[in-house]
Symmetry: D3
Subunit: 284 residues, 6 copies
């Protein structure tokens, strides 16, 4: 491409950079974008670029597949209750080690590799995420729901120029029991507590589809009212339901925009934030 | 262009943004880039973008053509001495009004128009530029050379988020006489006093040419030693000589890089700062 | 005079200095005090002294006579509409150059000459004064009325030890059109936005006279109610009407005291601020 | 015990608290004190008390036994080279998970349980510990030695009231390879980089014994010269040699005192810091 | 005592230190604890320890016995009115000198002797205590009651690491007359103005006794309601009445707890603050 | 006097105020200026005015006559040794009470009466003045010489807007013994430790006279060399010798100017600081 085109594209990014500068954006990082090395490289590059132009980037991650790998390695058989995995103490320990010890620190290292600065936390650090056992029909073991978010160390590290990278595990109110937390939910709670401008869920779908079987039916924008219509119409289904709930909860708690975007597309974060077209579904 | 290309280009700007972030870059703005409305729009957009990604942008400007226009309007005939214009008191007053009252404030307004923030100064404000009568064979009247730069108000306004825009006039040591200062020189002195990372002169040439008649002979990089060779070889000629001197003086005073770039090219600032190829001649 | 008297006078200034220290006083500087060199010297000395003893001095100036001089020089004939001058684009450019480029910077230089520190701004800088076309029966061209005052750069420069000197021109809400603003009005708006302690208009009259033809009938103090009586009685006349309006508007917006004082008297500012007798008319 | 005795003991702690207040003490936590629950409780209580009276406590930990447990669980057989374990990539991953994911976060939780505040880091976070492959006769795999310590996040978290708890793993200069670091060495390097007042190694011995078989021969104080004598005399043996080297290196780098104390004694930290008798061996 | 016990006691102080850290505690120092040298040493040690562990200690003192000594020395006979001493100007001067000149400065010296840092003030300094003549049936001369407390210099010196030691004399609203103030009252007013956590009166009694003749009937805790019952029952008598009023007034003004403790017991402050048992009577 | 003259005098004070603003001036206050009520009023007014225009005023005082009055009242007979008073413990206590308890606090009150703000200290507060027994042929008891000056509380109170008023007594290195210090010496040491601009001794003489019997022979300026000539010529005599030594010592320690001025003249401080003529003798 000629240089003049390049300069033109950079110049056109200005209003978007101006718009996001100084704002806080919480990104739930997961799915394919975390498994495919080339996508992973692009995501990390995007996060560092976003931080670099003045956005307060906060990353929340889960890591189901890697937890499963280690569970398998230690020959841990999982107990299932009505199709949901029961998290016993040994599984919880494995999850904690994989999330807070492996994935988290590997992400921090990758950010440094890309010229950024990062610190990895889990919800225990700085008493960031406090939780209680999740309220559900079946006992799922050490699966928790967040009861309080303390944002001090997120804000301190953000202000000191670091990207905080957060594992979705939390400490019980007894200050002893550790709980596994769904990463979408953790990201939503953190975005709410921070009064973030945006919550972005990097997923393995194009966004919300009017007809889930037809990727050309992407809905690019929805408000809370339209979501409740979609819900009652049964258009929202399966794994999309909790994701949309995370987005809606954040909006209700004061987050300005929630986004479900396609992590399988290279640089989907930049496309969403710095181009006219955007990507995925925005909920407001 | 497709979105994926756009995202790719933005992503590739990251290392350049990282490199320049937090650094001070002094830009001498003048020539065609100041006269052609479309180039002017692009330059202002670039300045605001640079500030937006964390560069401490400082703009220094002259404005010969507009001064001439007003001189003509008031029927002021200029006296010439060995081909150089003699700046009498009336001419100086006209220059001060045009530079500090018109061009300066119009640039500030344009920066606001593009979503940036700016404050306009001349060298009298905050006692920023102190000067004495220039030391030359012929008496040129109120033409001065800088004896002291006080950077307080530049730094204060930069830190407060503004782009300082500076007219190249200065106050004499008697705190009364006002002098006209060559804008390239003023930019060079200010860059030196600020310990800037870069001094960039926006000019009406492609850069330094090995054969001035052949624009394909652009020299993209020179060090001080190579410059003295070029000088003694007579390759540097005419108006290029003082420009190169400004660049060299800044380097000697601790500025890291000086650049002579082509203001006639759209977004030449972005090309220089944020692409692999760069533009013009860099002196180090 | 003997030394003991001098010391006595200085000692007696203490309670006044204590009273004004740390307060903000906005002075509209204009009229004879700006034309006569000896009065000008005294005013500048007084401003520097006021700043020096801890008063936050803010200076607002106009400059009709000097604008007229340049208009004449460029052979610009003015169009009049019902006796009011029509400000076309060319006239506006001339006004901008004279005010922001000449008078403003000359005042800054004089403050340095007297040992003070100053920075000159116009309403475009820092987006300080935003305006729209004035609402009047006849189209007066680029004459504006202020719609918003942004005080950031005034406060920053005040806190950094400088006297801000402000030209009464403003930027339209389109961030492009420049408007001429009446300097009394600009001073009043700025005093209001700053929550100033005092607004002082330096004028060419002794103050408000009960009998305008008899200077012995000076009214030294008035409140808003008394002013409306004077207005309905027709005692306020001609140019005094808008001046009193500026004073009243400031009081209504929270300024503590407005003053109309005689700029033709040497050191009238010091007399008003630091002696028992005061000078001119105070509106509260 | 009667109250008066209690008060007396508290009162006597004053000079010690005064002495240590505001100073930085780096504690290498490991051995029995980490395995026995009652000792563990006491150590955590002591750390929180030390922080509470104004000491800047920094905790560094290893965790060999827990790493071995997980290695065994995943049926990982270790390769040994001249009696030293070879750390292959899989072993390194296990170590990283156990140290940074499990032990580290459990310590943070325990500090909260005791009313303190903590944040857990590993050497990758904030690029705190940079390392290269250890220089040794045999290739030991991913075992590193520290080449640079960046203390920013330690100091930030300390100043914000947190106890930083640090896992002894480090990032290679390629910003990709992760290395296992001996925890005593990591503590020594961190104490040196912080200019700490003290480095304390919690060990499973009483201190340095003149006759290692006779615990009544404890040497309570040694200087660097006496240490070289002990070394050449062969009195320092086995695992004590690297520990004493860590202590000496810290002293040479400016740490004021290094201590080898008995982690098997309840509240050994308090005994060392807040009583006349002290405990273990002090190196200065 | 063995070391392990000592460590145990120190370790047990942790929750109390955590509880009081960063809180403000105002101590009225007087009575036997000020006369007996060994008690005095212990009190000063306790104050320095409290400050050292992060409590904002503020000391208020009177000094009747020492005033009487100097009155006797200058052969000043006291006039009594209905059994109350009349404070004439000469007596007031003596009181001022003894309190602000002798006792105050001696306490400051003792704090330094014990390794602490202190500054001595009286209510005149920083206009800390403003008073008017006390409102009473009989004219008692220069005995005042506090009308305003200005806490600036207390807070400044506290934040700078000093223990402020305050003599209970005050300046009249005429800024000229000096008044003697009851020290309990002064302490209560200062605690209220500071929004202190605790007010502690060091007295010569064990606390409030249900049967004043039987020291085994100490009431360890009372709320405001229970106090009004005790008052109407006539159980509060003599000197205890104003002391309890000082305590109650502070509680009503927002102080969290008031304490009447036995200054005759060694380290009574430490016993109250850092042990399970506490001492004396707490009012809440 | 007419107003115009008043304004003129105020205006002429500007360069002096500019010169002294932000500088530290230590004034030794004593002699007649402390005994005569009208002079006292004038001095306090001057101090408040100086502070008000931005000078960092520090006041040091003695108080021999008032100490004598109280000694007489308590029938304390003084022992003299070679004509010098022996300061036994009782005398020291009296001095401490009079200086730190009476004179100091009365000065603070007077400053408030004049609209200023002040805090009174003695050398014990903040461990400001440390001393040892004076080194002299005869044992003079508790007369000390300063060994260390700690300026923290002086600087803190100055920066917080207060005039520090300091009694010239000091604490021994044993942190127990209190010493009486000559007030001129204390002022000189404090000025030196503060790196003051000026030390001013308010005395009962016109300054240094070439012929002490002829007040028309005032020497208005001397440098250190000229002083040693005067000393060897025997022109400096009696009480003037130690005063000149205090002045010289301060100059040698970096104070810019020392002044011996006539405290018997109304507003002598203002005359020295704010008029062309000055007063007394300046040593530089």
């Amino acid at each position: 491409m000629e240089n003049s085109k390049k300069a033109e594209i950079l110049a056109k990014a200005l209003p978007y950079i101006q718009q996001h500068k100084g704002r806080t954006i919480v990104i739930k990082y997961g799915g394919s974008a975390m498994l495919d090395q080339s996508l992973k490289d692009a995501v990390i590059n995007d996060l560092v670029l976003m931080k670099c132009v003045g956005i307060n980037v906060v990353v929340v991650h889960g890591g189901g597949p890697e937890i499963n790998k280690l569970l398998k390695k230690v020959n841990k058989e999982s107990k299932f209750i009505n199709g949901l995995r029961y998290t016993d103490k040994e599984t919880m320990d494995i999850a904690q080690m994989v999330l807070a010890g492996k994935i988290n620190k590997d992400l921090v290292a990758m950010i440094y590799k890309n010229g950024g600065k990062a610190v990895g936390f889990c919800g225990i650090d700085g008493n960031m995420l406090q939780a209680k056992k999740i309220d559900s029909a079946d006992d799922l073991g050490f699966v928790g729901e967040i009861t309080k978010v303390t944002t001090d160390i997120i804000i301190n590290s953000t202000n000191a120029g670091y990207i905080p990278v957060i594992s979705s595990i939390a400490l019980g109110e007894d200050m002893e029991t550790v709980y596994n937390i769904n990463a979408d939910t953790a990201a939503s709670s953190i975005a709410s507590a921070l009064g973030a401008e945006k919550l972005i869920l990097l997923t393995d779908v194009a966004g919300i589809l009017a007809d889930p079987s037809d990727s050309f039916t992407l809905i690019s924008q929805l408000d809370l009212e339209e979501i409740s219509v979609l819900s009652s119409n049964g258009i929202l289904k399966g794994g999309m339901i909790p994701k949309v709930k995370c987005c809606s909860d954040a909006i209700k708690a004061g987050v300005n925009r929630s986004h479900i975007i396609d992590g399988r597309v290279q640089h989907s974060l930049l496309l969403e934030l710095f181009t006219d077209e955007g990507i995925g579904t925005m909920i407001k």
